[in-house]
Amino acid sequence: MREGSPWTGLGAVVLKELADHLTSVRMRILEILMLLAALGAVYTATQEIRKTIGEDPFVFLKLFTTAQEPLPAFAAFLGFLIPLTAIALGFDAVNGEYNRRTMSLVLSQPIYRDALLLGKFLAGIGTIAITLTALWVLLTGLGLWFLGVAPSTEEVGRALLFLFATLAYAGVWLALAILFSAHFRQPATSALAALSVWLLFTVFWTIVTDLFAKGLYRADPNDPIAQLAQARIGLFVSRLSPNTLYAELLVAFLNPQVRSLGPILVTQLEGAVMGTPLPLFQSFLIAWPQIVALVGTVIALFIGAYVIFQRQEVRA
């Protein structure tokens, strides 16, 4: 029906939004938070790792996952900060343009709405990617400094996969925030809605999982098959949360010893040498369904935002 490329003007939108994000006070605050989290986590991790150095072939990956009370590990910090950052970058993407009355100005230029929405998403992801990469390099540098051990190629590969997984996770929250920003007219409402979803998955999802697995399905304690079924139901429900998917990805990428992300039967362990690490590609295969699920969620949420936005009138 319509003619002309939907990508027209995409570059202009991305550059403008990226500049906005990178200079915004919002992002400054989050960057400081992330920096503090990284420094704190690395420092405590290196203190802990020094005690056991030489025993672990993947000592570098421990930087991301080692925690010392009361501070959580860097990966746990990210699991907390990334959704907040993504929501902060996306919650006023669409309704903000309406409220500033800039929507009709922008859309009366020769671009399609596609470019505006996708540009905002890409700029958000780009902002997070820049920040994360900087943190990642900083962390690696600090690790080199404190530990005095250079990471192996495989460790670098795993750490890069971790970076990618974190970006995909950020994409879910960013797409959700943009979806709400298209649906709700008030930025405060859309921010609150996105944060509610985040709270639901962060705090209440274990309860929901329990409810489904234990409350609705009563397994006979003497029947292992029924118990396995119950565990699978629990796992299925918990995997509806992006937090679970992200956590599983971290486990698969950062703990090479992990061979499965679900329940393992004794028969499956036959012939396995316990505690030996998997090669990178095998870990990747274990995590593949989670990667697909996360990326798929991003795409589905973005399509939802796109449909809502396309149906809106230009006039506020």
Partner: protein
């Protein structure tokens, strides 16, 4: 010369509400057209359909021969639009806002930067004003920045939605002067407004809207002649005996009404000021003032709708 903007039976419905109904409109090169009417009479909806920002329910629109519903990018490249109470990015400067518009139009920074300077200077926003954050701009400055954004696109057609709304009389007058300048340069301008008296001065032709229909269309003079019955109104201030009777005696005067001490209003079939002055002086009265009232669109509008209401 064929029409630059042409609509045939253009109709837009939102559910049961008809926003625009069977609109036939033609805009030719070099004219300023006023889309006038109260709020909610379908002016903005018409504009959005012309820009391809909303799809018509039925009927067709053509802008420079292009269908806005099918080729919105081509149309928007050729038409400048100043939205109703336009917004800019408050935290960016006027210059940066224009730079964004330029990039959205595919202009490279190197080509855009001299062009931006030029339009900013022309709109009186040059030098340090252009570097200030738009958040600190007055309403009039924002409107001028909006006009600068249109000039930047170097288009032949400009559509301005309520451009003088919220401006003080001075700023509104200044803005209308700028529109006159654009017209002199051969740009076609379409102005939508409910402030009839303000824009009637710059419009070559106007269309009066009511409830989604264009009920009257033509030049301001033509409309006032057809609606007000070609009446000329002359205000006379005169001191003397029986001025009333003297005025009534003037041929072509249809009606004389007293408007206060020594003040009279004449309704005549032609401009008979010369005859009035001669007779008043000849009768020995003093003539203090004599003015011909310009037909005002406000009056045309209210008179027309009185008639419509009477007929209904």
């Amino acid at each position: 010369m064929s029409a630059l903007i042409e609509t045939t039976d253009l109709t837009k419905r939102y559910g049961a509400v008809t926003a625009v109904q069977d609109l036939d409109l033609q805009l030719k090169a070099g004219e300023v057209f006023g889309l006038l009417g109260p709020n909610g009479s379908g002016k903005t909806t018409t504009i959005l359909m012309l820009l391809g920002l909303t799809e018509p329910t039925s009927g067709t629109a053509r802008v420079m021969g292009l269908d806005p519903a099918r080729k919105p990018l081509e149309v928007k490249r050729r038409v400048g639009y100043l939205p109703d109470s336009v917004g800019f990015y408050d935290e960016l400067s006027g210059r940066e806002n224009l730079a964004y518009v330029a990039r959205l139009n595919g202009l490279r920074a190197r080509e855009a930067s001299p062009a931006i300077e030029q339009v900013l200077n022309r709109m009186g926003l040059g030098n340090d004003v252009g570097d200030r954050a738009v958040g600190a701009y007055s309403r009039g400055m924002r409107q001028r920045l909006g006009l600068a954004a249109i000039l930047l696109k170097q288009v032949q057609i400009a559509i301005l939605d309520e451009p003088t709304l919220g401006l003080d009389p001075e700023a509104a007058h200044e803005f209308l002067e700028m529109i006159r300048d654009l017209r002199a340069e051969g740009m076609v301008v379409m102005i939508s407004s409910h402030l009839l008296h303000q824009v009637q001065a710059v419009c070559d032709r106007v269309g009066l809207f009511l409830k989604g229909k264009m009920v009257l269309e033509g030049t301001v003079e033509g409309l006032s002649e057809s609606v007000l019955g070609g009446a000329f109104r002359i205000h006379v201030e005169s001191r003397g005996q029986n001025v009333d009777a003297i005025l009534r005696d003037v041929p072509s005067v249809a009606k004389v009404s007293a408007m206060g001490l020594n003040k009279y209003r004449l309704e005549a079939r032609e401009d008979c000021r010369a005859a009035v002055s001669k007779r008043v002086i000849a009768a020995g009265a003093e003539l203090l003032s004599l003015t011909l009232e310009r037909p005002s669109l406000d009056e045309v509008y209210s008179r027309y709708f009185q008639e419509v209401r009477h007929d209904a």
